[in-house]
């Protein structure tokens, strides 16, 4: 079924009786060309692009719960391409371009809203760092504008320009940045993949990876064994457990990141604003809730829930930066499991096991990468060559020291990002 305003109108007039499932619930087959472990945003988008761009449809996505149940459905929905290191820059640029055509491509309104992102800075040194970033963005073909304090005040007058502990010097404005409706992204890719013949198998937990003589043969699942020529691990926070089934250890630690949404409010924040000194970022959803988050809780966790010190730190940053949101009430908090890599950048690569591929290490920034990640990973899976915009995400970069991508400059060690 094709979605359109006309279809909504027609269904509305006929009692909304004609709607059909957005995707099937197929029984898993005994064998696929490619099995993707993980039905989150990245896995679904990988399946979609395998089918769409490479014509590979004998593909299954195995999801132990329900599709889109992980981080793609629990994040702060920010979409941007404002990276400044080689490796990241071209990749996120590529991903943003895919976002920009995504509704049309998927025939699904993911509500990608390019409302603009402003990264604040608070000193000359930070302005220099923002300039370095902005210049890289432009040289990559993306957009960036360096805002002075006055220009910033015009755009976001509600920030604390009076007595902020870290005074506002200005901001780096990325007009094409914005937000999207997170669940819709997962559902749109799921529907697109399903329509092209990919099997989305929910409630199917992978319990083993079959490897013979260094070659992958398939997987064991809670719904029986499935043979596969290639197996793609796209398990985000669970990557460590999945890789362990193939006898691998990864340079990944899983951490909890909390996020928050307030009760619905009339429009008051029109952009995405990020406050690095407070590890705080905020936007307002179309439903009116302020959606915001901060830094990790900073301890390894699979609990998908956090603790109060981080909650308070995030709220304190909000109160420091924009005291006008003080009376907004936090409705819900949640936690996601972040696959933190040592340098804060992802891994999209082959492994030492033939036919076994890895896509992980998205840290707390995986949402914006969903189209790009699936797109370049599909390319790697289909062609066994790195996509031109994803040559930097090598698994061995930590071992060799070549091409470490440390955007934050905190170091290429665990728990610094």
């Amino acid at each position: 079924m094709r979605f359109s305003g006309l279809r909504v109108l027609k269904e509305g007039l006929t009692g909304n009786k004609g709607w059909t499932p957005h995707w099937r619930d197929p029984q898993p087959k005994v064998e696929y060309d490619i099995v993707i472990i993980g039905g989150g945003g990245h896995g679904l988008s990988t399946a979609y692009y395998l089918a769409k761009e490479h014509g590979l449809t004998n593909v299954a996505v195995l999801e132990k719960g329900y599709i889109g149940g992980g981080n793609v459905g629990r994040n702060t929905t920010i979409v941007r391409a404002n990276y400044f290191l080689q490796g990241n820059s071209e990749f996120y640029s590529h991903s943003l371009k895919l976002w920009e055509g995504l509704e049309e491509d998927l025939n699904y309104n993911v509500m990608h809203s390019q409302r603009g992102i402003i990264n604040l800075f608070h000193s000359d040194g930070q302005r220099d760092a923002a300039a370095r970033r902005g210049n890289m963005m432009i040289s990559q073909g993306d957009d960036a504008i360096l805002l002075g304090r006055d220009e910033l005040k015009e755009m976001v007058p509600y920030l604390n320009f009076d007595d902020l502990r870290f005074p506002l010097y200005g901001g780096l404005y990325h007009p094409r940045g914005g937000t999207a409706r997170h669940d819709a992204v997962a559902w749109g890719f799921a529907r697109g993949a399903d329509q092209r013949g990919v099997d989305l198998v929910q409630n199917c937990e992978v319990t083993g990876i079959d490897v013979e003589n260094g070659v992958v043969r398939g997987v064991q699942t809670s719904r029986g064994p499935i043979r596969a020529k290639k197996v793609a691990m796209v398990a985000a926070g669970r990557s460590g457990q999945v890789a362990a089934m193939a006898g691998m250890r990864l340079p990944i630690e899983s951490h909890v990141l909390q996020a928050f949404v307030t009760e619905g409010l009339k429009p008051c924040i029109d952009h995405v604003v990020t406050f690095g000194m407070g590890h705080f970022y905020i936007s307002q959803s179309d439903k009116g809730g302020l959606v915001f988050g901060g830094d990790l809780d900073f301890y390894a966790s699979y609990a998908a829930r956090g603790n109060l010190p981080t909650v308070e730190t995030v709220m304190e940053a909000g109160m420091a930066l924009m005291p006008m949101i003080g009376k907004a009430k936090v409705l819900r908090s949640w936690g996601g499991i972040m696959d933190m890599s040592p340098d804060g950048s992802p891994i999209i690569d082959r492994t030492d096991i033939e036919g076994l591929y890895l896509n992980c290490g998205w840290n707390y920034g995986g949402f914006k990468a969903v189209p790009g990640s699936g797109n370049v990973f599909a390319h790697l899976l289909a062609t066994d060559r790195y996509h031109e915009n994803a040559t930097g995400f090598r698994l061995d970069r930590f071992r060799t020291g070549r091409g470490i991508i440390d955007e934050e400059g905190k170091g290429s060690q665990h728990n610094l990002h």
Partner: protein, 87 residues
């Protein structure tokens, strides 16, 4: 979350800094080779379950602590001073 500091007793998590897996205590010799060093600095068990990790009582007595903790339930099973946990 509350953590028992071997010196101060049970304290709020906010007093502590987290470093990560207690693997960091097992520093290889300089000549141990690239694989050993790669494993030391980068590769992690990252278990969903019990793990040993390093915390620093930064907002307290300044002790480095090895905490045995469950990453799924956040239950804390044991804490000890890092210098003792080594031996």
């Amino acid at each position: 979350m509350r953590i028992s500091c071997p010196f101060c007793g049970e304290r709020d998590r906010r007093e502590f800094y987290y470093r990560g897996a207690a693997v960091d205590l097992e520093r290889p010799l300089p000549g141990a080779g690239a694989d050993v060093w790669d494993a030391f600095v980068y590769l992690r068990e990252n278990p969903a379950g019990e793990t040993r990790e390093l915390w620093y009582h930064e907002g307290g007595c300044g002790a480095w602590i090895v905490v045995t903790r469950n990453t799924v339930t956040h239950e804390i099973l044991r804490t000890e001073h890092a210098s003792e946990a080594r031996s």
